[in-house]
């Protein structure tokens, strides 16, 4: 009995044969897209529908949502961001049954409802890197539906600045006998550059409308508050300067935007240019423009792009990774890797933090997922190269002076003690436990685990958790920056004063910060218009961010 070793190829050939009846050519008529998918797909297939943080294969998602559920059903969807209404519709119509994903964004509430009613099976919620990793192990797609900017006659793909995760998906699918279908915005005679070679792509369809991209990383400086300015001053003085942080990633939010906008002013005044914030794993945040223009930033590798930043990025090739055509080349998988292994610091915000320093963005009624923050917001245990910042953090964390030296990543949680409507950000117990209980999840969805967190920064000060030696000390340090929340008011004044004496807790005045200087006047740009000015007119913000 000899075993057949090419089942995958045979199945692929069978799919392509069925598809040929509908679409004889590699270029598919948009009107036949649904028929093509019905021909290609088999019940129970694992399908990757490209839904990145920004770029969405929205036309293919719509086409898939229209298939006949009698023919195509019980699909296993794998995608990183479940953001479109069509994604949810697939489950409501029975086209898909199971999902493995990473982040759900705008569909978080509907997703929780569907999961609660049993209409959707959630395999697992991943971080981005985990999910891409599983594409190459046990979640390899049979069919991948991806999005690109343009394609030529042969089917070479040009992704434009939003390459994002297309290479990871196509690599996993094409080299394991899967079928790759791409939607493109236009057909071109010559591509500016080839991001995916034609040989890895089976079908191309020109979408009637360009694929949807949201400007998710644009923060209007006009909305940065004085409290955020104060916290940014503390981060720059108490962490970036202190550790000499030169390689880093910023989460998205007004808190971190404030830091970016304080580099050319406050950090410059402290003489920190050239010493901090040189290398970034970061999307092209418009709020980074002033820091780039004033010479802080030496390099930026990006997960994806940002609407309006195209011309600016193209004009700054010494800073950004660009193709021969001049436009940005982003790559989410590589950038996540860079953020994990090659950055000394991650700083981000969160909705809730408990007394162990665990943080979560989950609430009872939403399944928001993780995205990439945990990849960045975790100590890289596999890291072996040293840097001053990494070594210093490692020294602080080591209680036994005789132990083998090793470094630590700085993982900073930056948040105000109260959110809007007086919701306390510090809690005894994360809402994530309730969500896990209600949906019978195996783990409460924790964004960043407390033992990975090195510092917590609030308007009250900085808690350095690396220096805490017991869980009791840690809890008091966290209470010490938790302000007037119930958690904060539960602190022991004596214990907190002791922590302050030891430099574990540092108030703004301990850092030499005059709170009265914490005004918006310190921001290098106070409006989107200012950002445009800094960019010399190269930044072209989306209309909704303009007031001119």
């Amino acid at each position: 009995m000899s075993r057949r070793w090419d089942e995958g190829r045979r199945r692929r050939a069978a799919r392509l044969a069925r598809a040929a009846a509908v679409c004889p050519d590699k270029w598919v008529d948009p009107g036949s897209a649904t028929a093509l998918l019905e021909a290609l797909l088999e019940p129970g297939d694992r399908v990757c529908l490209e839904g990145d943080n920004q770029k969405q294969a929205d036309f293919l998602a719509r086409s898939l949502a229209r298939v006949d559920p009698a023919r195509v059903h019980d699909l296993h969807l794998v995608l990183s961001v479940l953001a479109l209404p069509e994604h949810v519709e697939l489950f409501e119509r029975g086209v898909a049954r199971r999902v493995d994903f990473s982040f759900s964004g705008p569909q978080a509430v509907r997703l929780a409802q569907l999961a609660g009613s049993g209409r959707i099976e959630i395999g697992a919620i991943h971080t981005y890197l985990e999910l891409y990793a599983r594409y190459f192990v046990d979640l390899t797609p049979r069919v991948a539906l991806v999005a690109a900017a343009s394609a030529d006659r042969e089917g070479n793909l040009y992704t434009g600045p939003n390459t994002e995760e297309t290479p990871a998906i196509v690599e996993a699918t094409a080299f394991r006998d899967g079928v790759v279908v791409a939607q493109v915005n236009e057909r071109a005679e010559r591509l500016p550059r080839v991001d995916i070679p034609a040989g890895w792509v089976d079908f191309v369809v020109r979408a009637p409308t360009p694929s949807a991209i949201e400007p998710l990383f644009t923060r209007d400086p006009a909305q940065v508050s004085e409290v955020q300015v104060l916290m940014a001053m503390m981060v720059i003085r108490g962490i970036y300067a202190e550790y000499g942080v030169d390689r880093l990633n910023h989460g998205i939010g007004f808190d971190t935007a404030a830091i970016e906008l304080l580099l050319p002013t406050y950090a410059e005044g402290l003489g920190l240019r050239g010493k901090i914030c040189g290398h970034w794993a970061l999307n092209p945040h418009p709020t980074l423009i002033p820091a780039i223009e004033s010479g802080f930033v030496r390099s930026v590798h990006a997960f994806g792009s940002e609407l309006g930043m195209e011309a600016y990025v193209a004009a700054r090739p010494d800073v950004f990774f660009t193709g021969r055509d001049g436009s940005l080349r982003s790559n989410r998988a590589f950038c996540q890797t860079a953020g994990h292994y090659a950055c000394d610091l991650f700083i981000g915000s969160s909705l809730q933090v408990d007394l162990e320093g665990n943080s979560s963005t989950a609430t009872r009624s939403r399944i928001a997922g993780f995205g990439g923050a945990p990849n960045m917001g975790a100590d890289a245990r596999g890291r072996r190269h040293a840097s001053p910042s990494w070594l210093k953090a490692g020294r602080e964390a080591r209680s036994d002076p005789g132990a083998v030296p090793r470094g630590r990543k700085l993982v900073v949680q930056l948040l105000e003690t109260f959110r809007e409507h007086m919701e306390p950000a510090f809690v005894e117990r994360l809402d994530a436990w309730d969500l896990a209980g209600a949906l019978k999840m195996e783990l409460p969805p924790v964004m960043v685990y407390g033992d990975d967190v090195s510092h917590i920064v609030t308007e009250e000060g900085i808690a350095n958790l690396l220096l805490c030696r017991t869980s009791e000390e840690r809890a008091q340090a966290i209470r010490g920056v938790a302000g007037y929340t119930p958690v904060g008011r539960g602190r022991s004044r004596a214990a907190v004063e002791n922590l302050r004496d030891r430099g574990i807790l540092r108030r703004p005045e301990d850092l030499g910060i005059d709170k009265r200087l914490a005004t918006r006047d310190l921001l290098a740009a106070r409006s989107v218009r200012d950002l445009v000015r800094w960019s010399g007119g190269l930044y072209d913000p989306p209309r909704r961010f303009r007031n001119w």
Binding site: T265, L523, R526, S527, R543, F545, R546, N547, W548
Partner: protein
């Protein structure tokens, strides 16, 4: 580079007055310690403000004695309620009583404060009559429009009742604001979230080009101060001949631009080359670019 040193738009009403008038010269009238808060907001269990969102007083501008009022856009969107409006009208009344060099109105308002609807509408009407009355008494009244709320509803009409208007490009002026327009007429009429379209329709640049705003300046307190000084000297006669001239001007505007569906069409029809670049220009470049096309001094 950094942003403007002292943004008018970002400043509170009090800071705007301090920044526009000679340093240290502002003397508030009926200040916050009087606690003249709105009983109507209190009746609705809403927050009140000690000055009801209107700061009024006297000061010096380039050494000349002036009266000045500033609306606080942050409080109830600068909405005009009973007390708020009475303060503005009272200040304009004071203008007629002594030889003031003029009155500055730093307007930042969505119009009538809906929570005091009827009293607000009457208050706006009283402010309007008080502006015209002060002007009839030969006291120039100058409107400065550059706050975050712009100048809408009845206050848009009030602004245009003044002798002159200085606007920043961020400033907006109109009667029916973008949100009301979208809500009542649908998103096809105007998408209020399309800020480029909103500013084309109401913004300082368009108003300057049509000749409705007399100055188009940077969002900077000093720029507003300088404009206010110049405009105080540019009093317009409130007489029949002047109105007949204005009438011809407004009539020509309808003939010339009545068929335009978008401000860009107006700019093109006015003879601006490449109108699409206007929104991106800095105020000085913009003024130069539209020098010939601007529909002159009204």
């Amino acid at each position: 580079m950094t942003g403007p040193a002292r943004s008018f738009r970002e400043a509170t009403a009090r800071r705007r007055l301090e920044g526009v008038l000679d340093p240290g010269s502002f003397r508030e009238i009926l200040g916050p310690a009087h606690r003249l808060t709105s009983p109507h907001l209190a009746a609705l269990d809403l927050p009140v403000s000690f000055d009801d969102g209107a700061v009024v007083g006297s000061g010096l501008l380039g050494g000349r004695p002036v009266l000045a009022a500033a609306q606080e856009g942050g409080f109830m969107g600068g909405g005009v309620g009973e007390v708020h409006g009475a303060k503005l009208a009272g200040l304009l009344g004071l203008a007629e009583r002594q030889p003031w060099a003029g009155v500055l109105l730093l307007l930042d308002s969505g119009g009538v404060r809906l929570q005091e609807a009827n009293a607000g509408l009457l208050a706006v009407s009283e402010v309007m009559r008080a502006v015209l009355s002060a002007r009839a008494a030969s006291v120039p009244v100058v409107a400065l429009v550059g706050g975050g709320w712009g100048c809408f509803g009845g206050m848009g009409i009030v602004a245009r009742c003044c002798d002159a208007i200085a606007m920043s490009e961020e400033g907006r002026l109109g009667v029916t604001g973008p949100d009301v327009l979208e809500t009542t007429k649908g998103v096809e009429e105007l998408d209020a979230s399309d800020r480029a379209a909103v500013w084309r329709t109401y913004g300082g640049k368009h108003r300057y080009l049509l000749g409705e705003a007399d100055r188009l300046i940077e969002d900077d307190l000093s720029a507003f101060r300088e404009a206010a000084m110049e405009l105080l000297s540019a009093r317009r006669d409130l007489g029949l001949e002047e109105l007949e001239r204005e009438h011809r001007h407004l009539g020509r505007r309808l003939e010339e631009f009545g068929g335009c569906a978008d401000a860009r069409d107006v700019w093109r029809a006015a003879g601006v080359e490449d109108p699409d670049r206007l929104p991106g220009l800095e105020p000085a470049d913009f003024r130069a670019a539209v020098r010939a096309a601007r529909r002159g001094d009204r």
